[in-house]
Subunit: 338 residues, 4 copies
C-alpha cells in the first residue's frame, strides 16, 4: 500500500538573490533566509522596521483590528551593522495568534481559501489559521524586499492603489515620492471617504477587490534574460505569488488586445519599459488586480478580517518588485576580467 | 580594466520536468533538451509533427508567407518509440532563413523588439534576425509541450482567440474539442471575415493585438505549491515568457478589481479552478493578451511578417500550459512507500 | 570605479529534500530551513536532541572543553508533533560564544583556516571566530540529518573511526548497531588508551587526523541518477563539504588503482553497493579522511580547541549521508498514476 | 494500481556555467547545451576538435580499436566565431555504433556496469550498449570543458597518470606543459613498455585500474563558496561523476589520516591550494583513482573494450576541472557598481 506524503518545494525564490521563507501564521515565528546578499553593505534595523510597519494591521483604520508587533530579529549574516556575505536569517515572532478564534475552522473549509486544497494536498493542515497560506507569510517577503533595496540604491519602486471600489486614479501622479499613507491612494484628499467606505464594508461583513499600479524609475537597461527569465515573466510570477493577486499586466496591458501596431509603434510608454523582456531604461509601469477577500458574512463579522487587503499589500508588492530587480541586477552585473 | 561579458542563464524552465531551449532564428537549428521526462512512455512522431504544424506560417492565409519545414529530429532519449527516462533532445533545422532579407537590420534597432536591449546587454547580436529573441524560439516549446502532454493524458488544454480586432467571443463555447483552425476563433463561420481583415492589415503594413482564453479541464486537485510556486504564479511566468504577451489573468481576473466579496463567494467559477494557488478540480480559465507586432509600415511590407501572431501563438500557449501542468503533476505525484 | 561586493550562494543542498543552513559561530544563532520535508511524519524532539548531543564537546573527555547547550527550537513546519509539509526551520542559539577568547584573531589569519580566504573573498569577516566557516555550522546539518532519517526508516547508516593515530580498525565489525561512544572506535576496549592519547595531544598543543568508515545497509536499489547526480558523486560532494575532510572513496577505493579487472569482477563488495553510480541493494561502504586541525602550538593551548575533531564529526558524517540518501530516495520515488 | 515511471534529473551541472548533456551511446548523437557561456568570446573549432581527439580511441595503441569520428557540430550560440551569450548546443553524431556487437547484451547484465541498476530504475534500457551510462557520454563533457577553458585563459589545468599497474610517478614533474601523449604518463621513455603492458592485457581479456594526479596552476584566490559549495566539494562531485572514478583526495589526501597537526602546519602544499574550501592562490593538487573496467574475459575479447580507460579519461578529467573552475570563477566575479 502506498501512503502519500507530499513533498513540497515552493518556498524559495530567486536565482542569485535567493530567499526561502518559512513559518505558519499560528506557529512560533515567520522568517526568511536570504542566500545571495552581497557583503559589506550597511543596514539599518530602523529602516527595516519602517518597512514592516507599512503592512501592519491596526495602523490603517478600517482594516484588521489585530495588532501584531512585528519585531524583526536578525539571526545571522550581519556583523557590526554590515552584511557579511553569509546567509541572512531574520525572524518575526507570532505573538498575537489567538487560535481560539479559529477553533471553528477545524472542520470546515473557507471558500476561496487554501483550506481544502491544502488538506487534500498534504493530508494535514494547521487548522488554527491559514497556516502557510495565510497572508502573514508576506511579512517574510517585506523583510527580503528591504535587503534587496539596499543592493539597488538608485532604483525607485512605488506602488499605489489605482482602483478601490468606486475610487479610481487613472493617471500616474507626479508626486510619486510623496507619502500616500494610510491607503496608498494618490488623491489623499479622499482618505476620509475611503475610511468610511471600508468601515461600512466591515460593518456589513463584506469585502472589496482593488487594482494596484506599480511604477519603477531609474532602472538600468539590460535587466532580464531571454527566453524564460524575461523581466516581465519574473515580475508576473512574483506578483501572482501574492495570495489574492489575480491579474498582471504591463505597459498598455489589456488595452493591447484591441490595438493596431500603427497606434503603438511611436508610443514608447506602450512597452512599459521593457522590450524583448529586457529593461530598456524607460519608466516601467505594471498593473495588478486583487480579488476581494473571500471571508464574508457572519464569519467576517466574528473574525478579525480585513474588508480590503489592498492597502496592506502595497508593501508586499513593492518588496516583490525589489526582489526581482535585485536578482536580475546581480545576474546582469557579472563582469569578467580576462 | 574590466570588460563585460554578460552571463545569461534564462533558457531553462521547470523543476522536475525541466527543459532548456537553444537556437537562434538564423543559426543552424532550434532545439530543446528535456531532463525529467518519465521513462517507458510511448511517443508518436506524427503527433509531434501535427503539433508543430499548428504554429507553422503559410498554413494560415493572411499570416506569414514564410514556409518553414519544421521537421523534428530526435537525437536522444527515445528507443523503439519509448522514452528511456534519459534526456530527450529534439532539434528542428532552420532551413528557410534568408538573412539577406534582414541585411538592413545590421545597423538599426526595431522598436518593440529586443534588438537594442540585446546589443546593450550582450555587446553582440546576431543581426540576421531576432536571433534568440525571435518568435522562432517557440518551436522548441511546442516540442516540449508535446512530451508534457504524454504525461498528462487525462487533462485537456484548449486555447482559443477571444478577441482579435473587432471579432470577439465573450463566452466559453461548449464544443471545445472541435477544430477551430485556422484562426482558433470559436465561431468558425467568421473565418472568411477574419481572413479578409488580416489580409487587409497585411496590405496596409499594419498589425493587430489579441486576447486568448485558455480552458483546462480534468485537472486533478492539488497541483501547485504554496508560497512562490503557486500554480497561478507559474502559469503567469510561463505565458509572460512568450514574446508578445503583455497580460495574464485567471478566473474573473480584471473584473475582480471592482467586485465585492458578497458577489463572488458563491461563484466557484470566479476562482478559475485555483484556491490558494492550488488546483481545486474545477475547470481552469485564464486570459492573456498579446500586443500587435511592432514591425509595421514599410518594413512590414518588405519583410515576411505576420499582421497578427495570435493564431500561430495558440500552439505555444497550449504548450506552455501543458509544461507547467506536467511539472507540477510530477512534483505532486511523489509518493513515499514507508 | 567598481567596488566588489561578492555574492555568495553556497548554503543550500539537495534537490527535493533541500536545505539551507545559516549562522555564524559568534552570531545569535545557527539554523537550518528544510524545504522538501514530506508531510504527516511524526517527529520526536528528544530524538533530535540525542543526535545533537553526539556532536557536543565536553561530553568526550579529551576533546574541546567548551560546553555548548545545543537546545533546538523549532520555528515552523511542525504541528502537533507532525510535519506539515511546509518548510521546517530549526535554530540553536549560540549561548557560549566568548569572543574575548578570539580578540587576538582580529588581525591575524590562522593557517589551514578560512580566515584569509574569507577576508579576501568577501572584504569583511566576523573575526570573533570562524564565523560561517566554523565547525559550529555543522550543527545545522545534524538537525537536517535527523529529519532526513525520518523519511528513511529502513535504511541504517553507521559511521565509525577506522584510523586515529596508531589506532586502527581494518575490518567492518559485526556489531554495527552497538554504541561505540564516546570515540566511535569499534574496539571500545581501547577507549582508555584513546583518551590518554588525546589528552596527551591536548597538553602538547598538537592535533591528529583520522579516517572514518561509513556503512549503509538496507538501501533500496535504484537510488542515484545517471551522469552528474550519481549517488557516489553526491556522497563525495556532501562529505567533502565538511570542513576538514580531504579524501573520499568507496568500495575498494584507493586500492583499485593497482587492481586487475580479473581480481574484482567476481567480488561484489569491490563496488561498494553502487554500479553505474546507482545503488544496487548491496551494503555500501565508504571511507573518508580528516586532516588534523590546523590550530596547534601556543594558540591551541590558549583556546578551546579539539586535538581531534573526528569523534565529534561522526554525527555530521552520518547526517550528510542521510541527507543525500533522503534526497535521492524522494527523487526515485516519484510514481505516476496514469 | 501504480505504474512506476521514474523521473530522472541528473544530467545538468553547474550553477552559472550550467550544462546539460544528452545522448545514448547507440542513439543518433551525443550532445551538450551550455546555458551560461559569456558573450563575445572568440572560439576555434580546431581547438575544440583537438580536445576531442585526446579522448578518441584508436589513437592510442593498446586501447579500444573503435574508430569514432567525433566531428562536433555547433547548433547554436556562435555567430561569426564569437559566443553570443545564448545557449551553446554542440552535438557529435554516433557514426560508428554497431549494435549487432551488443545483441547478446539484451538479456544479460554486465557486472560493475549500470545495466541492471538502470533496468531496475527505469523499467527500460537501451540494451544496444551502455546507453546513457556509457563512457561515450563523456564526449559531451570534453566539449563543455573546451568552452569553460575560454573563460579561464590564465589558469592551467594538467592531469597525468601517476599510477598504472606497476608504472608509478610519485612526484609532480617540472615539465607540466609538455605533451605526455599518448599515455599521459610523465616519463614518456616508458611509452613502449606501457604499450606492451596494455596490449598484453588486451590479449588476456583483462583490465587494469589507475591513478590520475591533477595540477592546477595560476588559479586566483577566492574561488569556492562556504558551506556546501566549497571548491573541493564541487571538484569531488565532478570527478566522481566520471563512471569509473572511485576515489578523490586533495593535498596530502589519504596521508592526512595519520598526520599530526605539528607536521603539516608549516607545509603549505599539504592543503592543496585550498583553505576553508576556497582557493588560496597556491598550486592545487588532487588525486583520483579509477577502477579497472569490469568487462573482462571472453566478453572483453569479443568486444571492442579498453584494457585501461585511464589514458582516454585524462581529457575528461581536465574538462571537469575546467568546468568547476569556470562555474566558480563566474560566481566569484560578480561585481556591484553602486
Amino acid at each position: 500500500m502506498y501512503t502519500q506524503f507530499h513533498i513540497m518545494r515552493g518556498n524559495s525564490f530567486g536565482k542569485l538573490f535567493s530567499l526561502t521563507t518559512f513559518g505558519e501564521s499560528h506557529g512560533p515565528a515567520m522568517g526568511v533566509v536570504i542566500d545571495g546578499m552581497p557583503s559589506g553593505i550597511l543596514i539599518s534595523i530602523d529602516d527595516l522596521k519602517a518597512e514592516l510597519k507599512k503592512r501592519s494591521p491596526g495602523i490603517i483604520a478600517g482594516t484588521s483590528s489585530r495588532v501584531e508587533l512585528d519585531e524583526p530579529e536578525i539571526l545571522s549574516g550581519i556583523f557590526e551593522n554590515k552584511t557579511l556575505g553569509t546567509p541572512i536569517a531574520v525572524i518575526v515572532k507570532n505573538l498575537n495568534q489567538k487560535s481560539s478564534d479559529y477553533d471553528q475552522l477545524k472542520n470546515e473549509y473557507r471558500p476561496g481559501h487554501a483550506d481544502k486544497t491544502y488538506e487534500q494536498k498534504f493530508g494535514i493542515r494547521d487548522h488554527r489559521g491559514g497556516g502557510r497560506s495565510s497572508g502573514r507569510e508576506t511579512v517574510s517577503r517585506v523583510i527580503a524586499g528591504y535587503f534587496a533595496s539596499l543592493v539597488l540604491p538608485k532604483i525607485t519602486v512605488k506602488a499605489f492603489i489605482s482602483k478601490l471600489g468606486h475610487f479610481e486614479c487613472n493617471y500616474i501622479p507626479d508626486n510619486l515620492s510623496s507619502d500616500f499613507s494610510p491607503y496608498s491612494f494618490p488623491d489623499t484628499s479622499k482618505n476620509e471617504e475611503i475610511k468610511n467606505f471600508l468601515e461600512d464594508l466591515k460593518r456589513k461583513g463584506d469585502s472589496i477587490g482593488g487594482e494596484v499600479t506599480i511604477v519603477v524609475d531609474q532602472c538600468p537597461m539590460g535587466l532580464g534574460e531571454p527566453a524564460f527569465d524575461k523581466l516581465k515573466s519574473d515580475f508576473a510570477k512574483a506578483l501572482l505569488s501574492i495570495g489574492a493577486c489575480v491579474s498582471f499586466s504591463y505597459g498598455l496591458g489589456y488595452e493591447m488586445a484591441a490595438k493596431f501596431g500603427s497606434e503603438i509603434s511611436s508610443n514608447r510608454s506602450a512597452f512599459g519599459g521593457m522590450e524583448g523582456g529586457i529593461s530598456n531604461g524607460d519608466r516601467m509601469v505594471m498593473k495588478i488586480v486583487f480579488k476581494p477577500t473571500s471571508t464574508i458574512g457572519e464569519k467576517a463579522l466574528q473574525g478579525r478580517h480585513d474588508p480590503c487587503i489592498v492597502p496592506r499589500a502595497i508593501a508586499v508588492v513593492e518588496a516583490m518588485i525589489k526582489i526581482v530587480l535585485c536578482d536580475h541586477f546581480l545576474r546582469q552585473n557579472a563582469y569578467l576580467n580576462i
